[in-house]
Amino acid sequence: MLSANKRVRVSLVAAVVATIVALATPRAQQAPPRFTGSTDAILVDVGVSRAGVAVEGLTAADFVVKDSGVAQTVQLVSAGGFPVSLLLAFDASASVRGLPLEHLKTAAKAAIATLRPTDEAALMTFSHSVLLRSGWTTSRENLTKAIDSVTGTGLTALNDAAFAALALAPKPGTRRLILFFTDGDDTSSWTSAAALVQAARRTEAVVYNVALDSSRNSGAAISRMLETRRKPGDTTQADVEKWMTAEPTLYRGAALTLLTLETGGESLRATETAKLTATFTDVVSRFSRRYVLAFTPSGVPATGWHPIEVEVKGGGDVNARRGYTR
């Protein structure tokens, strides 16, 4: 998070923990991106569309942002000024073996090809194990090699992969886009769906999830329900979240959709794997047309969960993270 953390920290006296952390690269210790206006500034990555078409050319005056119900003074930070850190997180379990995996690889390369030279990307795959095939890099050659090395095998540790994607810190000062693809439910994660949704509330990453329209598992059905019932007063999402907390495994199929809603991303569907290339490049394109708003919270509690509401004067569908924790 951008703001200072005032919650109870884990003291973790065990020397082993210190060793584990110390052995990792120092990059993660670097400061997260901050808006220059204030060290307590909150950045909100916002997508605006009307009838499914991204709306461009808006100014700060077009937005109304409320933090915990209190209207805030916002500034528009040029989204183009931030390099993008794109994390591709792909299902590489046995179910994607063969042609679907080849389509997936082609789509991944196409997504990377649409990035600007200053943008970086990383590749994570998951089956039962979660692997970082390529760390953050601007080298398209390295990323292509990593994509070509992917093979399909094993179960699906979807929640583990999603948590690892959220926890993995990118280069400071970048906008982080996580592009997820899976064709099934979680079958082998230790990380619970509820823990995953909570983790999403603590990050600034924007998650786009691409699912196959042909998926008929329970997770896909719940996801469709969440995606299609986002009208005012609809309690479906709140119900699922509540139940997911009470029953960590029962509603795990909704985890990725909730992740997109929490982070202000989107859930997209491809009718077949052959069309993934168009979907993936569309995700990067949509992300590049989003806005980055900044505000310094005022008139709100110093700590705890801060729900954010973003509206556009003149109307429009808004995708923005649902809040932040201080």
Partner: protein
């Protein structure tokens, strides 16, 4: 996975519609309805032919299996149904061709076990169940219809059940192990296998959408809770029968945790850890204990449990991610990222790297080796 679930559903429907009646009836020890009525003389001729070939399994198993793969189900089923009938005097002019020596019956059992495994590899589940039923029938007769816990029959059925579970066919595994549990009472290993299957079914269960609406957890959880209760009963009995059965205790702790009975889950997990188990069980018990501590917001203690798990299994991905989540939820994002990067630095992919990966599949995946041991034992 979607594909596995769809396949399983299709198989269940197939089996319900066209159940392999022969194998099921044979398992219950009664006669198969004959498509052709054989005279006592013809029956004995058929038995003679069958056993003459079956005995060759000892010296040339491949050829024997190949020969019997050409026999029809009716012929094979008839052979066993003849021997399963209550023994009655044959007419004096007929020479008895039945085999009753336990070692020969077990030889035939492994022969049909091989045929069953070959059918399963070809995804021919009805044929698998038929051949598996024949093998079980011969093993039952070899034990004079009264198999004991730990017998070859019991161990072989457990391996069959575990193979099915590991292959995603938990429903068939449950059916076979339930039947075995009814017929070979008080076998802790069968109870452990059955408990494992029910536990995995419970953990894989997801809420349904009746009528396109989300089911309230109170109703949605019922099938899952039913599986958990069955798992708990089987595992508690296994532990009672064999207190040294560490895997049953680990699974029991996990089942308690899934049922929200954290006190008992923690108690059993710490009991396992106190007994200094092997690395895999130490890892799993530490993970389960850590999960309970985390739920009660004892984050330091939970983190120590996860560190202990990593100490036991240095490539244990689940423990790394659990530890990273503790940092993350405590607002220590940089530390969480460092733990994740450390995990990625190890790059472990082998299925043995993290016992949690194979936990729902039954942990021990050396089924091929076990079948080979059974084959070798009967061919000695």
């Amino acid at each position: 996975m979607f594909a596995v679930r769809t396949l399983l559903r299709a198989l269940v429907i197939t089996l319900a519609v066209a159940a392999p009646a022969t194998a099921q009836i044979l398992l219950s020890g009664s006669a198969v309805p004959a498509e052709t009525d054989l005279s006592p003389e013809q029956e004995q001729r058929l038995l003679g032919e069958y056993w003459k070939i079956a005995k060759l399994y000892k010296s040339d198993p491949l050829k024997t299996v190949s020969t019997f793969s050409a026999w029809t189900r009716d012929r094979l089923g008839k052979v066993q149904s003849i021997q399963f009938q209550p023994q009655k005097p044959l007419p004096e002019y007929i020479k008895g061709e039945a085999e009753w020596a336990p070692e020969t019956l077990r030889l035939a059992a492994m022969l049909h076990s091989d045929l069953a495994l070959a059918a399963y590899q070809k995804h021919n589940v009805p044929e698998f169940e038929f051949q598996q039923g024949l093998a079980d029938g011969w093993l039952t007769l070899a034990d004079n219809r009264l198999s004991a816990p730990g017998s070859l029959r019991a161990r072989w059925i457990i391996t069959i059940g575990r193979m099915l579970l590991a292959s995603g066919d938990a429903g068939i595994a449950e059916r076979i192990l339930n039947r075995a549990n009814e017929r070979i009472g008080n076998d802790p290993a069968i109870l452990l296998a059955l408990g494992t299957v029910k536990e995995t079914q419970a953990s894989r269960f997801v809420a349904d959408l009746p009528g396109g609406k989300l089911d309230d957890p109170v109703f949605a959880a019922k099938p899952r809770d039913s599986a958990l209760t069955a798992a708990q009963a089987a595992l508690e009995k296994a532990v009672k029968l064999q207190p040294s059965l560490t895997e049953a205790k680990v699974r029991l702790a996990h089942v308690y945790a899934m049922k929200g009975d954290d006190a008992r889950a923690y108690s059993v997990a710490t009991e396992v850890l106190a007994a200094k188990p092997n690395a895999a069980f130490k890892y799993l018990a530490s993970l389960i204990a850590g999960g309970v501590l985390e739920r009660s917001r004892q984050l330091d203690a939970a983190a120590r449990a996860y560190v202990d798990a990593i100490g036991a299994m240095p490539d244990g991905q689940s423990a790394y991610l659990a530890l990273a989540n503790i940092f993350h939820r405590s607002g220590q994002a940089a530390e969480a990222s460092a733990v994740v990067e450390r995990l990625f630095g190890r790059g472990a992919v082998g299925t043995n790297a993290d016992p949690w990966w194979t936990y729902p599949l039954g942990l021990d995946l050396s089924m091929d080796k076990q079948f080979e041991e059974y084959r070798n034992a009967v061919r000695k």
